[in-house]
């Protein structure tokens, strides 16, 4: 433990203060041109984070083993790419970012344990990680107790706002309301069949969707949930055929997704005639489902790989150069990529790595270089962002056919929808 991180701390024992003074004078002898660029560590780090004159340590905390590895791999790749790019540009406040990667192993207590390790032992200045809501809920008390900073990338059900988390994905209303309004307007939809995997995100999302549908004078003709990993959907497909909804609204996740879309196609439901809107299938999932099985479906989310703007072209090119030319990029991967950039911008605005100052600087922070386009952090720690509708193509990509004119305001505690 080097004490020069905290040279003014009067709580330090006498000998440590002496060592600190010695280290300070040692750094004073370093070449001036290095120091000129970097504000002194003592100024930018008053809370004992792992920041040296040349380096700052952050954490990456995702599952790279276990069931969730399928989903979280893209986020890890995006965060590493962002960190490498920032380092190539000279780092943050003149310091290179060093990351320590921990594996949450798809196990929520493991996430909590690793989060504590990153914050307490490694003194990580920020952590980029978690994917499922369950893993976020598991680490939340630790981030709040240790006053850490977590950048969470996944679109999720909302109903949460922590001073220690920046939510870079969309919360439920942003994703759901724009999508429903779009099918109502464009497709003249009047009736909906709601489907989901049986856990908090699909259930909360469908609750919001049902309220919105009913408030706008439309109808829900069926609602069904399936255990995670369910692989047989023939019965519900028959129910859908019987009730003939204008729109199938599907929030099915994981391996079940593959089974659902394959069986839908095999049952003769032609997605070019039957409107299907999903909020859970990104380009990543389509790789497992097979583009030919889902072509014609619509997805409502904030990012698609095919998004046509300069930021995104550069991002896709850099991502594929780094991780392979065949790799695809989904909504969450892009949101994960924003994490390190938002953190860098906030640190530089604050002129400090201290979590309290970074948090303060994050409010109303703008990022114009995001692949999805302009984003801004709302005081509730979620992002203002546009919602887009994508039409699935047989080659596994989406055509972006609509985007909201304005940025959608994040509203994690929507009144009237609970």
């Amino acid at each position: 433990m080097t004490s020069h991180r905290n040279p003014g701390g009067s709580t330090l024992p006498h000998w440590k203060r002496l060592v600190g003074a010695a280290m300070l004078s040692a750094t004073a002898l370093a070449p001036l041109d290095v120091l000129a660029a970097n504000p002194p560590t003592a100024e930018v780090n008053t809370t004992g984070l792992a920041v040296t004159d040349t380096e700052v340590t952050v954490g990456i905390l995702h599952s790279v083993t276990g069931t969730m590895a399928i989903s979280e791999t893209g986020s890890v790749q995006a965060e590493k790419l962002a960190i490498e790019q920032i380092n190539a540009m000279g780092g943050v406040l003149g310091r290179q970012i060093k990351y320590i990667q921990e594996d949450g192993a798809s196990d929520w207590p493991t996430f909590a344990e690793k989060a504590r390790k990153l914050l307490v032992n490694d003194k990580a200045a920020a952590v980029f990680g978690c994917w499922t809501s369950a893993s976020r809920k598991a680490v939340l008390p630790i981030f709040e107790r240790e006053n850490g900073l977590l950048y969470y990338p996944t679109f999720y059900e909302g109903l949460e706002q922590s001073k220690n988390v920046i939510y870079t994905g969309q919360e439920a209303t942003q994703q759901i309301l724009a999508g429903l309004d779009w099918v109502a307007e464009e497709k003249g939809a009047k009736s909906f069949y709601l489907l989901g995997s049986d856990y908090i995100w699909p259930r909360t999302s469908n609750k919001i969707a049902r309220k919105h549908i009913e408030m706008n004078g439309m109808k829900v003709v069926g609602e069904d949930y399936f255990p995670l990993g369910h692989t047989q959907f023939n019965s519900v497909i028959n129910k859908i055929k019987l009730t003939k909804p204008d729109v199938i609204y599907a929030i099915i996740v994981g391996g079940s997704n593959v089974a659902f879309y394959k069986q839908l196609k095999a049952a003769g439901i032609d997605l070019s005639k039957q409107t299907l809107l999903t909020i859970s299938v990104t380009e990543d999932e389509i790789q497992g489902i097979g583009g030919e099985n889902i072509a014609g479906a619509y997805a409502a989310m904030k990012y698609f790989q095919s998004l046509d703007n300069e930021n995104n072209k550069a991002f896709v090119q850099a991502f594929q150069e780094r991780w392979g030319k065949d790799i695809v990029i989904g909504d969450v991967t892009q949101a994960a990529y924003l994490g390190p950039w938002l953190w860098k911008a906030a640190v530089e605005k604050a002129g400090s790595f201290d979590v309290d100052k970074v948090r303060e600087a994050s409010i109303e922070l703008e990022l114009t270089t995001a692949p999805e386009g302009y984003v801004k952090i709302h005081p509730n720690h979620h992002l203002w962002s546009k919602t887009r509708i994508g039409l699935a193509r047989a080659d596994g990509q989406y055509d972006v056919i609509y985007e909201t004119k304005e940025l959608m305001e994040p509203n994690p505690f929507p009144e009237g929808y609970q």
């Binding site: 399928i70 019965s235 019987l242 391996g255 095999a266």
Partner: protein, 308 residues
């Protein structure tokens, strides 16, 4: 819930629903057959059964890629080759596993449970390292994916028909092998009384190894077939393992007839309840019923009398 539908619409729905139940029955039976042979005839609890199925699925994936790039003209028929390769690959792995691990554990059935569970984790990680953590998309020939339209309302999924035909064929083959061949006679003899069978000149070790390989090979074929209806990823085998054990245990561990009857009972009740209730509730009720019946009849539906 049937207000406002004409009689013919309702008839079509019931027809399709019956069909959905039959497809589910075929799927359950196909995934349980391999396990029933291993568990029933050898008493080995093979927790890696799901991973053998996924091995079959990955073999199908590789075969599909090979045909696409090298033999595009024969792509329509690749699935039959894929199933054959899946059987050979899973069977060979089963043969090796029996020799390396299982044969040392025959007297310790609970240890086989732990050992094969370990094997399942090792295999999952191998798949993850070789094929990546993400699911792979298996491209299927077009003729397998569509549906056959009988009337306006009734669409028969072709892959469902395919699974049904496959299950019928494999079940018939297994029965022929078990009850009509010399080898089947030997298997049954070893199951009933290992010492006497040995005294009669039957090589018990060889029979064990081939039985285990056969069970694993059938799991491989099942996995290959399920690329049509499900996902192919490192942990996808876990999706099947619970249902598989449910079918085998409920049917009575040592009876192939029991496996068939239990697959039929579970699939029909589940598919009917799924139609009237939500998917999760249907699952809960199915499990509760099975638990209730097993409480009253711990040995399962069918029992084979065995001399101890």
């Amino acid at each position: 819930m049937f207000d406002g539908y004409t009689a013919s619409q309702l008839m079509s729905i019931f027809a399709m629903q019956g069909f959905a139940g039959l497809i589910l029955f075929s799927v359950f039976l196909l995934m349980a057959l391999g396990l029933a042979i291993i568990f029933g005839q050898m008493g080995v609890i093979n927790m890696a059964h799901g991973e053998f199925m996924i091995l079959g699925a990955y073999v199908t994936f590789l075969t599909s890629n090979f045909f696409q790039s090298n033999l595009p003209h024969f792509f329509g028929g690749y699935f039959f080759f894929a199933m054959a390769f899946a059987f050979l690959a899973a069977g060979a792995l089963g043969y090796a596993l029996e020799w390396v691990l299982i044969r040392h554990l025959y007297r310790r059935p609970l240890d086989t449970l732990l050992a094969t569970w370990g094997v399942s984790m090792i295999l999952q990680q191998v798949y993850r390292s070789v094929f990546g953590a993400r699911e792979v998309g298996v491209v299927l020939p077009d003729w397998l994916m569509g549906s056959y339209q009988v009337t306006d309302m009734i669409d028969v999924p072709i892959n469902g028909m395919f699974v049904m035909a496959l299950t019928a064929t494999i079940t018939a083959a297994v029965f022929a092998l078990m009850f009509r061949s010399t080898w089947g006679l030997q298997v049954r003899a070893v199951t009933q009384n290992r010492v006497m069978a040995g005294a009669a000149g039957i090589n018990g070790k060889r029979v064990d190894r081939l039985t285990f390989a056969l069970g694993c090979g059938i799991a491989g074929v099942a996995g290959s077939a399920f690329t049509m209806v499900g996902s192919t990823g490192p942990t996808a085998g876990q999706l099947y393992i619970v249902d598989t054990f449910l079918v085998v245990v409920f049917g009575g561990a040592q009876s192939l007839f029991g496996t068939i009857a239990s697959a039929f009972a579970i699939s029909q009740s589940q598919s009917t309840m799924e139609f009237f209730l939500s998917g999760s509730m249907a699952k809960v009720l199915t499990l509760l019923t099975v638990v209730g019946i097993l409480l009253l009849r711990p040995q399962g539906l069918f029992v084979v009398k065995v001399r101890k």
